[in-house]
């Protein structure tokens, strides 16, 4: 049974009707082709209507959809000869972040991905896609290996955030993330990051410093979960949709803020309704990005990555000479 979100219901109902119609026409040998065609058109129309007016929180729900393709689903479809590598060489192998050498279009890359589980057993193993310090340290080890091998890094991000636990604090998860941020700026190979589902704050950024940061249409990337934000600022869980809207966490908002460089379109109805089509779209964009970046020299790649992140931020710079007019100061978008 697929998980059906509230706003998906009308679509599933129509699809159910079509199935019934087809079944009826088959068993009773009645030609219902015309009705089926009409219904199909209605489905398309409904999908377009529903998906053209999604609220930010509905997108968050899509990004978290249990049937949504996870990084490993994309890896299986888009890469060949994937050789998974394990462990941080210090403590353990964190299943919340996977990675290894693979071929994309026959050319070698290092692919890193956060990984959620499809069932409870898997989720216990990968703690719902929330990485511990070991995950970030494994990812960095693999990225440095890519740097040595001179192959591009592809980072597929889908995590609610870093795992908040006693062990993670003791083994200094903050350091693991911070060191990744710093070291990713030193990589001399192309780095393409793609948020495929949830971009959960520092936990996502810990494998998210790229020459290009792309996002899938219905993915989100946020400094805090809308639930967390609603609890802190509104002190009311009912404010979650409002928090989701305020945080500007959707793909189109993030493109405007220049936090991401591009949006990867998803099939109508969301990536979970047609994984093959979603993977194809992701593959095309990835190809473009790798091709473009492969033309740059190692030094240029580092410089471009620095400049890309250096430019993010919105503030104004008041003139010192008694200029108190904060509000008239023009917002400087650097």
């Amino acid at each position: 049974m697929p998980v059906i979100l509230e706003f998906e219901k009308s679509i599933y109902e129509l699809e159910e009707k079509i199935n019934q119609l087809r079944e009826f026409s088959r068993t009773n040998k009645v030609d219902m082709a015309q009705s089926v065609v009409e219904l199909e058109a209605r489905i398309e129309e409904t999908k377009k209507r529903v998906f053209s007016s999604l609220t930010p929180f509905q997108r968050v729900q899509l990004a978290r959809h249990p049937d949504r393709p996870f990084p490993r689903d994309y890896i299986n479809r888009l890469f060949t000869d994937f050789i998974e590598l394990h462990g941080d060489r210090r403590f353990s192998d964190d299943h919340a972040i996977i990675g290894g050498f693979a071929k994309f279009d026959g050319k070698p890359v290092m692919v890193i991905g956060s990984q959620k589980g499809r069932n409870l057993k898997e989720n216990v193993k990968c703690h719902f896609g929330c990485a511990n310090p070991e995950g970030y340290r494994k990812a960095l080890r693999l990225m440095k290996m890519a740097d040595k091998a001179g192959v591009p890094v592809v980072s597929l991000i889908d995590t609610p955030g870093a795992y908040p636990g006693i062990g993670g604090e003791e083994r200094h998860v903050a350091e693991a993330i911070a060191v990744n941020l710093l070291e990713m700026f030193n990589l001399r190979v192309p780095v393409v990051c793609i948020v495929t589902g949830e971009g959960g704050s520092g936990g996502a950024l810990g494998i998210g410093v790229g020459n290009r940061v792309m996002i899938m249409e219905n993915a989100y990337y946020s400094v805090i979960t809308p639930e967390g934000c609603a609890a802190i600022l509104w002190r009311d869980p009912a404010a979650t949709p409002q928090a989701a809207a305020s945080l500007r966490l959707t793909s189109s908002d993030l493109l405007k803020l220049k936090v991401v460089d591009g949006i990867i379109p998803e099939p109508l109805g969301g990536a979970h309704r047609d994984i093959e089509a979603a993977a194809k779209q992701l593959g095309e964009i990835l190809r473009q990005q790798i091709d473009e970046l492969s033309k740059l020299s190692p030094e240029k790649l580092r410089e471009q990555r620095y400049d890309r992140f250096r430019a993010i931020g919105v503030f104004s710079e008041e003139k010192p000479a008694g200029a108190k007019a904060a509000k008239s100061a023009k917002a400087k978008k650097k």
Binding site: I166, E169, L181, L182, F185, L247, G313, V314
Partner: protein, 283 residues
């Protein structure tokens, strides 16, 4: 959902405790002793009875760590902008305005160059009074510019951290400051220049997972809260019982997260010593 349920409010019985006039006196959070505020200020905001460290303002901190009149502020005119048009009843600009009024600062970080015992260095100080010293675009930009300046002028970098984390009102713009500041530190480090972090109460979340934890030397003030995830979040998510003293400076020392815990009275002397020891790196 019951997790976030509001508790019913009950009317508290009138307090039998003697009221302490606000302003002049305060009751120590550490030992309940009644402290004369002036005495506390003279003692670097440290309780003379129990040694509890109270937050310092950016100005007090700069005075503590620099030669008199040597601090030259940079980028004093950067101010935050409500880029997201964030709304939660009280708007972001109003909150900025009240923080400015309360602290006399334009944002949560003050940066500049200074000398300590005639040794030049770059200093950044965060002030918790300004929106919990959360990191938005301005804090990120100031720390980045300071680091770039230190790199260009071959100066040791010292940052006194305190932060509740990222500034939610700036959404992803604030998260990206983690990457921006780390990028600048990568270049500072590449030049072989020293970076000293002084962690004060509280240093957490996005600041902890970026520039606060990328130093060569990590010093902490006693009793500070230092960690990534909030204790409440950890408790809720894992249902674990947190060990006593979890995420304090003392816990961090035991776990190898900080080099030393330094009482405030020794901080100036120790920082000066570190600048001596690193003198070879900045020649």
């Amino acid at each position: 959902m019951t997790l976030f349920k509001k508790h019913e409010t009950t009317i508290a019985p009138p307090s039998t405790k003697k009221e302490i006039p606000a302003g002049l006196w305060l009751k120590c959070k550490g030992c309940d002793a009644v402290l004369y505020r002036t005495k506390l200020e003279e003692n670097l905001q440290v309780c003379p009875q129990c040694g509890h460290h109270y937050p310092m303002t950016a100005g007090e901190r700069i005075a503590l760590l620099t030669d008199a009149d040597s601090f030259k502020e940079i980028d004093a005119d950067l101010v935050s902008v409500d880029a997201l048009k964030f709304a939660d009843g009280k708007t972001y600009p109003e909150k900025l305005a009240s923080s400015r009024k309360k602290s006399g600062l334009k944002d949560a970080a003050v940066t500049g160059t200074a000398t300590l015992d005639n040794k030049a260095y770059a200093l950044g100080v965060m002030d918790f009074r300004f929106l919990g010293a959360s990191m938005g675009s301005v804090v990120g930009e100031k720390i980045t510019r300071l680091t770039e300046l230190a790199t260009a002028k071959k100066l040791p970098l010292v940052i006194v951290t305190a932060s509740g984390g990222a500034r939610m009102y700036e959404g992803m713009l604030s998260l990206m400051q983690m990457a921006k500041t780390s990028a600048a530190l990568a270049r500072h480090n590449e030049k072989g220049l020293p970076y000293i972090v002084i962690m004060t109460h509280p240093t957490t979340a996005g600041v902890m997972a970026s520039f606060a934890t990328l130093g060569d030397v990590h010093l902490a003030e006693p009793g500070a809260l230092i960690g990534f995830a909030g204790p409440r979040v950890i408790k809720q998510t894992t249902q674990a019982i947190l060990p006593p003293g979890f995420q304090t400076s003392e816990f961090c020392l035991e776990k190898g997260i900080v080099d030393r815990i330094i009482p405030r009275s020794d901080l100036r002397r120790e920082l000066s010593l570190f600048l001596d020891y690193f003198a070879g790196a900045v020649k």
